[in-house]
Structures are given as structure tokens and as C-alpha cells.
Amino acid sequence: MSASSEISLINFYVVNTNLSYAEGEEEKKILYFWPPETDLDTQMKNVGLSEAIIKFTETFNPGKPCEALHTQKTRQLYHNPEKGFWIVMTINLPLVTRSASNSYSGGTTLVWGEEEVQDRVFLGVLRHAYRTFCLFSGSFTSLVEKGRSKVLNKGAGDVDDHYYLLRSRLDHFFSLYLNQSLRLNHADLLEVFQGVSFLPLDRRSFLRVRCFLSRAEEDVDWVLRKSGLNADETQVLYRYLVGSLLPAHLEGTELQGGSIPRHGRYPPSSSHYGRFVTGPSNLCDGAPIGKMPLVFVNPQVPKQNASEGKNNFGVLESEKSKNKEEPFHLLVYRALSATLCLLISDTYSLTLSDFREIDAALGPGLTSLASQVAEMIGGGLAPASPTTPSSAHSSPASSSSPASASPGFGPHLPPPIIHGSSGPRFLYFNRLNLAVKSSIHLDSRGVGNVAVTRDVLMMLADINTDLRGYPFNTYETERNDNHHDKSLQKRIQPSYKSVSAEIMLNTESDVWVVGKLSDQREFYVVLCQKNADLMTVNEEVKRLCDSQFKCIFFHE
């Protein structure tokens, strides 16, 4: 059959259901619709169905907004990030062949793979799309507010014009995002986690990193304001850097013949390897300052300077509702394979000389730091020793992401016991500090470079569903203030929480998939061992835990 078996996007739209217009003007509640060439009638039909479904489900007080509509051929996912605003994404189900076990049909049949698309994963995709939008444009409501103030200044009369700014931002952002950054066919459990890969460092290197960061803060303090990022924003920023910005940058420089030593020793030269990824591409006089993305974050002023970013995580979620995003310039500076990220207030206009100063202040330090760290890792300095994802990130004001797309510096060191593809593969996630560690994913770009089959990957998400039960993102509900039945919500949630659980699956192709939940930590192992039984697998998992996660406690 030549039928497409890929998952593809059918449509994607943003509506505000709280907007009510006069008859004939209903289409104005559609804020964005993709594909843009869709005629208005079709748009209205789609939106109408969505609204009907949202209303219908509310009849039964689910305690949570509607999330997914399954039909025989498609899947529609709903995300309700702000009051009244809905992001809806429709994708087609892939066609899969299934061996028919009934005698009369015989052979294989082609069916729509309902279970091949996992709500949990694609809701993660949708949520991430929204958060990325917020990072670059601010929240929907803030854009409406801005639109309103501009309209007021102009003294224009039409109420609808409040939304013009939001409309144009949505159009600008999603036309690009949907084409470039939406990787539907490679979405997996990581979309649910939205975690950050930490580079395991030994104590001395870690200290060096902290030391460098503090010094950097001192050195460039004329542009910096001390504050922190919250977990959400860190996730999105990290994904943007690792998933889009850096790969694009690397490709770009390689095309120009620019050589960035990716590996090996730092040559004893007086110069350094630092350069701006965003900002000016060279620092000669008269060079253009270049483009720096504007990002909207909610600056968190730490109560104490010494407080670790990760301690903030829990608290910040609840304070989010304040919606006090401020625009910042995202300045990314890179030396060798170390990347430093500076957020500089929008109010400060940077000149070329500022960049020169930054470059002079950071360049040598970052270069030597990068080479030292690379050496430590390359030199095989006890890769199995403390691999606790130490919080190398989240210093005040600047967020350093040493992990990058370059190999050799990548966080995914092959665990010592892996022999070929048949060895155990694992995935670890800690909800508290968002640390992700995976030997299943071979890189962090999310383009399907994985060591296991797609089925197994989906099974991981199945297990995650079972371990976590419902609701999977507890903090997600708090923003959905359009659900009045708060008491019901409260009643449902605690009963689904489980502190520790373990699931072991044996598939028909004799792969073992194990999932462990230990409070906020999740650990998954994939094991391809023929004829293994429950006990051998259990032993194997224990061994893996001992070798990889010595310091992390798992419930037995």
C-alpha cells in the first residue's frame, strides 16, 4: 500500500471561546489557523466542532478541560493554557499493518493506528509549542493587554483591535514553528518530561564552572540583573538552544568553513575560541550588531544570593500567575563546545563596545573551562562516579548550558556495560530538577535518533501513564481557572498519587521494558535478552542502578 504511514499535521488553530461576536462575525474568535489557505467555512466548521466538544465535556464536570478527541482516522488535541484560549491541533493517525489473526481475512490488514498516537506525548508537544510561543512573545493575555493599550493610545474604536497584536504574533511565530520545529513523527516520552540533560561533572570541574559563572557575573555586571529563571522557562530555553539554535549555528559555521575544534586539547594560543552565537558575528568596527532574539521571562529575584536555582522550582510554579513577563535579549556566547547564555534586559541597548567587553571578559575563561571539562570527560575521568545530575545550570541571571549538540562533549556517555545494541538501555528523569539522562536517545535533538524500536519507545510512554496515573502534570491544572468545580479537582488528585511503583513488561518480541517510580524520580530500562525471566531482568536492572545511579535512591 502506498498510503502514507507518517503522522502529519492536519490543522492547528488558536481560538478564544470567551469572545462572542454578533452573528456573522464568529470567525473573529479564530486567532490563528493553519494551514492558512483554508477557506473560512472549513475553519468555522472545525472551530465549531471543537467548541461543541469543549462545551459537551464540561457538562459532566470532568475537573479538567477537554484534552483529546479520537476519531477513526484522526486525533485532535486540546490545550487550554489561558482562560478562554484554546490551542487545538489535529493530526492524522498513521496507517499501520496488523496481522489479522482471524482465519477468514488472513494475511495483514491496514488499519488506522489509534494506539500509535499517544495523547500524553502529543499534549506534551502542544504544551511545548505554547511555552515556546510565550518565551518569544509573552503570554496571550499579555499580548491582548499590550494590544489594548496601543489601541487606546491611538484612540481607535473597534474592540476587536485588541487582538490584532496577538493575531500577528501568532501568525508570525507559528507559521515558522509548525514548519520547522514540530517533529510529530519523533515525539516520544521526552515530550512529556521536557527535561534538561545535565552533564555529569566531578566535584572539581563543577566548582570550576560555578566559579567561572560567578566571575562572569561580576565581570559583566553592568548589563546583568541578578535574578533566576523558573523551571518552565529553563526547559523551554534549553530546548530552543539545543534543539534549534545551536544545531543551526553549527551547520552555519561549518558551511562557512569556520572551524570550531570540537574535541581534543586546547591549543596553547593567546587567542580564545569564544564567539557570539546570537549578536554580532564579528567584532570589527562598524560590524552590525546582529540579531538577538527577544525572550519573555518572568524574572525571579532569589531571596538569598546563595539559594540554588533548583530550590526555587517548586515555589515558582504557583507564583506564575502574576504574569509579569519582561522582555530580555537572549545573548548566546559559545567557546568550543561550551555555551553560555545571557539574558540582558530589553531596556538596556547594547552597543558594539559592550559586546567587545563581554567577549574579552568571557572568552578566555569559557575557552579554558570548556577544554578542561572536555579533558575531564574525554580522559574518562571516572564516568561512573558521581553522576548525580548536579545542578550545573541555574545560576542567577545567566543560565549556562554546557551540554550541547556537539559529540564528545555530549552528556550521553555510553554506560560501560553496554555491549552493542543488545545491552540494557535506560532513561532517567527527575521531576524535581528536571534532569534527564538517557542512553535510549542518541542525541538530544529529537529527530528520532534512538537505540530502540518505535514500539518500545511508545511502551515507555504507556508505562509512564500507568506509573503516574492521572493527572500527569499536576501544576498544569492551576492555570485553568475556567473550571469551577475546584472541590472535585481536589478530591480526585490525591488518590492518583503514588510514591513508588514498578512495572515490568515482556513484549511479544521478547523485549523487557521496566519502569520504576520512586517519588519524583522515574527510571526506565529496556532490555533485549532472549528467554530472560522476571528475576533475571530484576537482577539486571539492579545492576544497572548500582552502576549508573549509585547515589540515587530507588524504592525496592
Binding site: 459537551f56 477513526q72 515482556n506 528475576m535
Partner: protein
């Protein structure tokens, strides 16, 4: 952690597994298997998936070309050399008449006047047209009326709503509350289904929080479930399929299709009056009995000699009766004996419907009945005629003799008398009574420590065995199924009034629980008072406030141990039988229990353990269960499949 003793244990365990497998190999067959086939064995989920994917018309075509019943009739007539080709059709034409007689049989227990009224309206008569014109069109209810059930918090919180409607949006059945008050809701559901259908697609489910909305379209009938349970969509859809089968079993598929062909707008409730209690009970059984999930039948544990004696007795008494297709002896939803016509099998799904019919009809207890039954899997287009009667006042086993001949009531009645006499003489009645009184076996009987409960299904015979439910899953459950359905519905189940009283008596002796369990006893009254007040037009808001005690009732339902246990099995089953990612084995250890599911070529085993059991011990225990079942297979399963 790999200490030596652990290793020793492990290797020991390896040995035990080897031995067990060897033992099984020697016997060739897995526990409970036999070479004789009695039941049609299809994986209910596989079949169901196919049904979902093939279009309805296709299926109907297939079904209508092969009518098993007319096939049997033709065969018999060929034998008699007096072929009457019209007989099959004749039967179809007289469906309405038969239906009336069937309903008079089964609706005896509902309110007399109403029953009679409905009976006169059976069939597609002219009166209907007038009525239809008067019937409220969709969506025209006044706002005050429609808010009543919608804004009733208790109604909303129900664990699982089931709605059945016609493709035109006419209400057919609602599990809770009166359909008439929910007309707008039915309209919305119909609109959603038809809107998606317009795009050459079909709506399957909607997910919002932990609530699932599952849609199933079966030709002219739409079934919708709104479920707060942990069941998977496929499992809920299977339950809807059963609900549809139940309707087909009352009306036949051809009748159903014809009714809507003649008038799209037809109010099916007229034909189904009296069948609501069948649906009520079926739906609650679906949530509590693993039989439906497994697509298998449970047998009443009996010694081999007793079972053989019973089968032989029925066989010999009925062997002379030409067109008897099935003889089924059932007690307490468990199969005692099944004798079938050679060449024809009965599907477990059909048996479940028969069990449901027997258990929800009190009238069978008092008198011999002659009732038409359509078995949807066997032949959805026509009726079998069933002689239904309990063996005797002192033995609560029900004998069904199903035939294609509509004029043999007295022959079958005679045969039944003979069977009862013989069974009494050989002491089989006592054996049955004893088994019923014993109420199955305990999980501890298998001698496997740490095991709380288990299900064992033998795939080749579609039979399963499970121990009785014990603490901690017994908490607030009660064997009295009828009570459960009565608490759901205030109308149409007056027959269970006596049982409700008996339940109240039970519950007073049962009261070691918290205060909430005392309110459980009065749920039914509360439930009826709610729908009563809805009917009398009080505002919905009042209900919400006055129902204070209702919250606890819902919690009772939630905490119901039996349903929780089923939920665990459903969870295991869902993962193991996933359409795209099927598994061979699953082990899950969680806060409140550990569980194991095994799918082997010949059998399925599901075990629930104490939460802290080690994996090694879990596997040992599972093997012990298998061994024990093998030893007990004669008692637990029907290993012979006698024919006429």
C-alpha cells in the same frame, strides 16, 4: 544486592519453573483444556476491533446472507422431506407478535398497567405516528427542565453513564435518570456523531481529565458512555457492544433495522419497555464480573461424576427432540452443563446474555416460560425459542432449552420434568445445591502464599476460574446484583423490591463499617427520591443542596472493593491485549498491591498479590496456582462437550 541466599533462591526457582513446564508439557494440555470444543472461542477484543473497523453495512450483509436459524430449519425439514422455504421469512414477519408474547413473559414483574399499555403498542402500528408527532422534538425542552439533571452534581459524578439513542437523536435508554429530561444532551451527542461522520470519519472517544466519553455507532443505534473509571476505551466500547447485543437479543438485528428503515424517527423505547432492567443489570455485571472482560464463562465447580450425570441425563432426555439446538443449565451466573447440536457452537458473548436474562428475570422462578431469544453471535436475524424454568423450588439452577421450532413448548416441558426427576434420583440436585452453598473456592485453596485473588482463563475452551472475592476487596461489595441495578433506576425494576428488603437485613448484620456504609443500604431510596423529585419538577439546585448524603453514596461506589479489583484486572488486560503493542507478561508493584499477568499460548493468568511480595515469590505462587488448577481442572471446568 545479589547475595548468595538470593541466588540460591533464584536457581531453586528456575528449577521449579522447569519442573512445572515439564509437567505441563507431559500433560500436553494446559489446565482446563480439552480436545472437545463447546464454546466458540474468539478473542472478544480482536473481534471487536474488526467490527469497529469494518463498516456496518458490510457486516450486516454478511450476517443476512447466513442465517444460522433458517439453516437449521432447512436441514431439519430436508430430513423430514417436507421443505417449506417460507418458514424462515414467516418467522420474521411474525416477529412483532412473538415479541409481544415475549414481553408479556418478561415484563410480568413491571407495573401491570404500564406493561399492558406498552404491549399493545408493540410492533410498528399506526398509532405510533400520532404519538410521534406529539413527542418532543430534539432541543425544544424549556431551559428550566433541562438544567435539572445537568446541574445535579450527584448525577454528574456518576461513575459511568450509558446513553443509547437512535441515529436521529431519539433517546432510547439512559442508565441514570429519565431519558426525557436529557433530550438536549441526546441531541448534542447525535450532533457530534453525525458531524464527524459527515467528514467520512467516525468519532471514537473524547478525553477530559479522567473522564472518557466513548462513542459507538451500530447502524441505526448510537451508544455513548461517559466513564470515570480506569477502564480503557476499548473496554468501555466492548461494554457498549454488549449493551447493543442486549437490544439485539430482545429485538433481533433485522427487526431493529426494519423499524428504523420504516421510520427514522421511531421511538425505540416502545419496543424495549421491560428490557431496561436487562440493560441495567447487564451494565452493572459488566463492571463487576470478569467473564465479560475475558470473553469466557465460569463453571460451577462440581465433581466430575455429578457433572457427567447431569449432562447424560439432559442428553438422554432431549435426544429425541429433533430441533433442539442448545440445552443450558445455569446457576448463579455459572455454567453447570451445556449440550449442543452437533455442528453448532455458542459464543461466550451469547451465553453472557442468556445468563443476564436468567438472573434479571424473577418471573422464571415462578413459572415455566416460553420466550423468544435472539443470540446475536449465533444468528442476529432471528429468534430461538427458549423453554426456561428452574429445576425445582429447592434447587436454584435454571434450565434453558433453546429450539428453532416454535411449537414444542409441551414437548420440552415434558422433557424438563423427566430431567428433574432423574436428577433428583441420582442426587445431582443436592450436588448442585451443595456447590452453590459453598460459593466457589478461596484463593488460599491454591496454597500459594501472598496471593489475594486470581483469574485463570483457558483459551481453547473459553472457560475461566476465579476464587471468591475476599478481604480487602470485599469491603462494601455485596453479592446481590439485583440490588445494584435497583439503586440505579427507580422505574422498571419494582420486582427487586423484595430483594432490597433482604439486603437491608443483610446490611444490618454487616455493619462493621463506617457510617457511610449504613447509608449504602438506603441508597436505593435516595436514588429514587432524586429521580422522583426531578420528575416532579423541583429545581436542580435544590437537589444539589439537599442531597448532602449523596456524596457518601458515590464514595461507596468508588471504594467498592469488587469494582476496584476488576479495575486492576482491566488494567492488566488492557496492557496485555493492546492492539498495537501486545505483551506476553506484565508485573506491576504498587502501593496497595502487586499484580502479574501472563499470556501463554493456551491460557491467560492474572494474579493479584500482597503489595510487598518479592518477584521470586510472585512467580513461585503463580506456578503453584497453575499446578493447583491442573489438579482441580475436572471440578473447575467442563471438559466434555456433549452433543445431541
Amino acid at each position: 544486592m545479589a547475595t548468595d541466599p538470593g541466588k540460591d533462591f533464584l536457581s531453586q526457582e528456575d528449577k521449579t519453573i522447569d519442573i512445572d513446564e515439564e509437567a505441563l508439557n507431559k500433560n500436553v494440555l494446559e489446565p482446563g483444556a480439552c480436545s472437545e470444543k463447546m464454546l466458540l472461542t474468539t478473542d472478544s477484543f480482536e473481534e471487536f476491533e474488526q467490527e469497529m473497523d469494518s463498516s456496518f453495512d458490510e457486516r450486516q450483509m454478511k450476517e443476512s446472507t447466513t442465517s444460522t436459524i433458517s439453516e437449521i430449519q432447512e436441514e431439519l425439514q430436508d430430513g423430514n422431506n417436507s421443505s417449506d422455504p417460507d418458514d424462515g421469512k414467516l418467522m420474521a414477519n411474525e416477529v412483532a407478535e412473538e415479541l409481544a408474547s415475549r414481553l408479556s413473559e418478561t415484563s410480568l414483574t413491571s407495573v401491570e398497567g404500564e406493561g399492558k399499555d406498552q404491549m399493545q403498542k408493540n410492533g410498528v402500528s399506526e398509532e405510533d405516528e400520532k404519538e410521534d408527532a406529539l413527542a418532543t422534538p430534539v432541543g425544544s425542552l424549556s431551559a428550566a427542565e433541562e438544567t435539572e439533571c445537568w446541574q445535579n452534581a450527584a448525577w454528574k459524578r456518576r461513575k459511568k453513564h450509558i446513553f443509547i439513542l437512535s441515529a436521529a437523536g431519539k433517546p432510547v435508554y439512559s442508565r441514570y435518570g429519565s431519558e426525557d429530561k436529557q433530550v438536549t444532551l441526546f441531541g448534542v451527542m447525535q450532533a457530534l456523531v453525525s458531524f464527524v461522520a459527515d467528514g467520512h470519519d467516525s468519532i471514537r472517544s473524547i478525553h477530559a481529565g479522567n473522564v472518557k466519553f466513548v462513542f459507538l455507532t451500530k447502524g441505526p443505534v448510537i451508544l455513548v458512555a461517559v466513564s470515570r473509571t480506569s477502564e480503557s476505551v476499548a473496554q468501555v466500547a466492548l461494554q457498549l457492544t454488549y449493551a447493543h447485543s442486549q437490544i439485539v437479543s430482545v429485538l433481533t438485528l433485522s427487526q431493529l433495522a426494519r423499524v428504523f428503515e420504516q421510520r427514522r424517527n421511531y421511538d425505540l423505547r416502545r419496543l424495549l419497555s421491560g428490557a431496561e432492567r436487562l440493560l441495567d443489570r447487564l451494565l452493572s455485571s459488566l463492571e463487576t464480573q470478569p467473564a465479560f472482560l475475558l470473553g469466557a464463562v465460569r463453571c460451577l465447580p462440581l465433581s466430575q461424576t455429578a457433572r457427567d450425570a447431569i449432562s447424560a441425563t439432559i442428553q438422554s432426555a432431549c435426544s429425541k427432540i429433533k430441533n433442539l439446538v442448545f440445552a443450558i443449565l445455569v446457576a448463579d451466573d455459572q455454567l453447570i452443563s451445556l449440550i449442543r447440536m452437533k455442528k453448532y457452537f455458542i459464543s461466550p458473548a451469547d451465553l453472557h446474555l442468556i445468563f443476564n436474562l436468567v438472573s434479571s428475570s424473577e418471573s422464571f422462578k415462578t413459572a415455566e416460560s416460553w420466550t423468544p431469544i435472539c443470540l446475536p453471535k449465533f444468528d442476529p436475524s432471528g429468534y430461538l425459542h427458549g423453554h426456561v424454568s428452574y429445576l425445582s423450588d429447592d434447587c436454584q439452577a435454571c434450565l434453558l432449552l433453546l429450539t428453532v421450532d416454535r411449537d414444542v413448548f409441551f414437548t420440552l416441558s415434558e422433557a424438563k420434568q423427566k430431567i428433574v426427576e432423574k436428577l433428583r434420583r441420582c442426587g445431582a440436585l443436592e450436588a448442585i445445591n451443595e456447590a452453590l452453598a459453598k460459593d466457589g473456592f478461596y484463593a488460599s485453596a491454591a496454597g500459594a502464599p501472598g496471593v489475594r485473588h486470581f483469574l485463570y482463563k483457558c483459551k481453547s475452551t473459553a472457560q475461566f476460574a476465579c476464587p471468591r472475592i475476599e478481604s480487602p476487596y470485599i469491603l462494601r461489595s455485596n453479592k446481590n446484583q439485583a440490588f445494584r441495578s435497583s439503586n440505579c433506576r427507580s422505574s422498571g425494576c419494582y420486582d427487586t423490591g423484595d430483594e432490597m428488603d433482604s439486603y437491608d437485613n443483610n446490611s444490618s448484620g454487616f455493619l462493621t463499617q463506617t457510617s457511610s456504609s449504613s447509608s449504602f443500604g438506603s441508597n436505593a431510596k435516595l436514588g429514587s427520591s432524586i429521580s422522583g423529585s426531578m420528575a416532579s419538577g423541583l429545581s436542580g439546585h435544590d437537589n444539589e443542596d439537599t442531597v448532602g448524603g449523596y456524596g457518601s453514596c458515590e464514595e461507596d461506589e468508588e471504594d467498592d472493593g469488587e469494582r476496584r479489583l476488576m479495575g486492576l484486572y482491566q488494567h492488566l488486560h488492557h496492557r496485555l491485549h493492546s492492539a498495537s503493542r501486545p505483551l506476553k507478561q506484565i508485573f506491576k508493584q504498587a502501593d496497595s498491591e502487586a499484580m502479574l499477568g501472563w499470556i501463554k499460548p493456551g491460557y491467560e493468568l492474572y494474579v493479584i498479590y500482597e503489595p510487598l511480595i518479592t518477584k521470586t515469590n510472585a512467580v513461585i505462587a503463580a506456578n503453584k496456582i497453575l499446578k493447583w488448577i491442573k489438579e482441580e481442572e475436572q471440578r473447575l471446568f467442563i471438559l466434555h462437550a456433549p452433543t445431541f
